[in-house]
Symmetry: C2
Subunit: 293 residues, 2 copies
């Protein structure tokens, strides 16, 4: 049980975390801060937070749990704004989709206060953003990846594990490097492809006419193309090396299909499709709890 949760960045992710902790009875009071005063006020009116803070630092004052839920490019500035009030025993987490850059920023800024910081990435989201979409059940049944450092206090890692478990998450641990490599493959590349595909559609003369003809396959394939602009700008920049390695792999896989198509090699094309079709048919979300360490 925490006395006070301070949420910096009261959007979809931060707001949903606050609601989930309240519903689970894990926190007495939630103080929130967003860069836009209108957002902070909306969060208060919606009952997502109990009190609005005027600054990130004020949201940390008196909090024994702090969630930094800002776009990853804003995390370093946020750490600078709050570090003076991060007392020993305060658990600080982020929810960023990349971890090496967040850990680097934490090392640079937090220094001796690094021990209380547990980097976290909940594998949850929606294609809509904003506190008005915050949902106490967003994290239920989802995975959350923790990437603690050698300096991280093991008690804080345990506390972090307990709080995410209590709101329904399966908690996994990885190194920041393995995290970024894996999520470049399973999340960042699909988003990039969905964005690029949608742009390729819009860029052709009859593109908008074509869109009126699209069906359920298109709908699901492109759902993530509607994702938040600044969040994904930051992710694709922060993890660009790994993402570009993945685009090279995708281009090679696409080459194989094009060679089979151009040469009319039905058997080779069948084999390529079968690999994907069998692989996807056998896949289940959250099927295996053991990630690479």
């Amino acid at each position: 049980m925490f006395n006070q949760l301070g949420v910096i960045g009261v959007g979809l992710m931060g707001g949903s975390f606050a609601l989930a902790l309240k519903r689970a009875g894990l926190v007495k009071r939630v103080v929130g801060y967003s860069k836009s005063p209108a957002t902070t006020e909306k969060a208060r009116k919606l009952g997502v937070i109990d009190a609005a803070a005027d600054s990130a630092l004020q949201a940390v004052a008196g909090s024994d749990l702090v969630l930094v839920a800002v776009p990853v490019a804003a995390i370093e500035a946020t750490f600078k704004a709050i570090r003076q009030l991060i007392e020993p025993g305060v658990l600080v987490m982020d929810v960023g989709s990349t971890k090496r850059d967040v850990v680097d920023a934490a090392r640079r800024v937090l220094k001796d206060r690094l021990t209380g910081f547990v980097p976290a990435h909940p594998i949850a989201g929606k294609e809509v953003s904003g506190v008005e979409h915050a949902d106490a059940q967003l994290y239920l049944g989802k995975q959350v990846i923790l990437t603690p450092l050698a300096q991280t206090d093991p008690n804080q890692v345990q506390q972090a594990t307990d709080v995410w478990s209590a709101i329904g998450c399966q908690v996994l641990r990885m190194t920041p490097e393995n995290h970024d490599t894996a999520y470049a493959a399973v999340s960042h590349l699909p988003h990039l492809l969905a964005f690029a595909y949608f742009n390729a559609m819009l860029a052709q003369p009859a593109g908008r006419e074509f869109l009126s003809l699209a069906g359920p396959g298109f709908r699901d394939f492109t759902r993530i193309a509607a994702s938040d602009v600044s969040v994904w700008r930051d992710i694709l920049l922060a993890n660009r090396e790994e993402v570009i390695k993945q685009t090279q792999r995708l281009r090679h896989a696409l080459d194989a299909f094009e060679v089979a198509m151009r040469s009319g090699n039905a058997e080779a094309l069948s084999d390529l499709i079968r690999t994907a079709s069998d692989g996807r048919s056998g896949w289940q979300m959250n099927a295996r709890p053991t990630p690479p360490r």
Copy 2:
């Protein structure tokens, strides 16, 4: 009201059409044929068809409505097998996802019996195949594209329009050429990308570990990668020229993202993502009834 529907290829698409017509009271009797006797027998036991035919030709005998629901590469052979029994006044349709190749096959084989053939492509499907997944509601609320030829009997086009409308479809007409161009963009390329992406994932050393970490975005993006192998082999081969044009467009769109990422150009990257995100947020399935003619 039809006296007898003959379904050649009693799988997901053909079986669902039979069930939908029965439910709507549009047909007195359904005769079905599949290459595999076990499939035909399963369809009869499930009540999808009333009688099992021993050949494609036998499924046509006595039918005033014939649905050819075989993979597109098998359509020409099917036309050859049935043409002698296609009498004037019999409405023949297919459900192929490509239309130029089907129309070419019809022209070559049906000749003076071409007037009763109305090429059709219902924009409906599932990532599972087989008559056991046939569903009377599969076509409800979906679009169906008809690509009649200059020689097609207008009365048959009207009958085709009426029957698809009666089972809940929005009926559109296009030329076979415009159809294939549009569906290369909105359907064939997404399938190809989903296949290639899944293969790229499986081909890397830690690929199977990565898969255990994937979340809801991955799930929806890759749903169509589980599609039927022979159906998609035939589509990608039949429409390869248009599909490869689309892969070139996709590669160019991907290039633009990679340039922005490599150069760290946050503003350009934002603009690229915003185009996709705004475009997808404003898109709705079946929002506009007017296709390119």
